[in-house]
Symmetry: C2
Subunit: 153 residues, 2 copies
């Protein structure tokens, strides 16, 4: 997968987290995803199609990370993952993909985004129906860690 395809998602992730969640994300080095399991406790998946690229964006949060981020977003004091927090992961996934969509459009990739699907549980096996490798980028924030994963071909 070319860097020009992953960068719009990375930039959108940083923008969304900075703007909506008032947190400062620090991306680590991209790796090939070493398994087909969910990395964190709450995971958002969004599928994308276009005449030029197809694939998915995954964003997967440690439990404490997403609780802290959502508490900060909405000035709440949740201590566990609620349905509203799972919904917020869907919204964050949507916003990141929406931001990336605009940049990808400028690169000539006019994607259609599906609605996100959220999955609970770490280590759940999720198999992409794609021969393309999945790139995983770890992201650190003061609230904890999460990853984004892109599978685009």
């Amino acid at each position: 997968m070319r860097a020009e395809l992953i960068n719009p998602f990375l930039n959108a992730t940083i923008n969304v987290l900075r703007t909506m969640c008032q947190t400062v994300p620090t991306p680590g080095a991209p790796i090939l995803k070493p398994s087909n399991q969910t990395w964190g406790a709450v995971t958002g998946i969004i599928s994308m199609t276009s005449p030029t690229i197809n694939g998915s964006l995954v964003i997967s949060f440690q439990e404490k990370t997403i609780i802290s981020i959502v508490n900060k977003m909405f000035a709440e004091s949740n201590s566990e993952v609620t349905p509203e927090i799972v919904d917020a992961v869907g919204e964050i996934t949507n916003m990141i993909c929406g931001g990336a969509k605009q940049h990808l459009g400028e690169l000539g990739h006019h994607i259609t985004m599906a609605s996100p699907v959220m999955i609970r549980g770490q280590g759940v096996v999720i198999v992409q129906h794609s021969k393309a490798p999945t790139i995983q980028i770890p992201i650190a924030t003061p609230e904890g860690s999460f990853v984004i994963e892109a599978n685009l071909a």
Copy 2:
């Protein structure tokens, strides 16, 4: 969700299973999905978008059902769920959605299908980012049971 939206998926499911898997599916009565957990051990999800409807199709197989169906399809003798069987669930999901797409087009709904994503494990919590109810239809075959679920709005 209107019956005119669910029927194309049901008809396509029956056609695909009859044609590709040489089995005779008997649908039961549709119900509102009583939980947000995966029904079976191997589940395929496909997202769809169109100017008129958005949503997802889920197909979820009991372990013994999908092993028997794939063994029949490819004249194999698997006794457990292999990566090829998970891939076959993606293909079956794709084919059902492709069949439904054609009928939905005739009804004026010109959908774009994303690539399917497959999930392993029964009882995995999957949350649709949608206010629409999910309709679940149980389907019996000589090989065992499965369900299809449609969430379309």
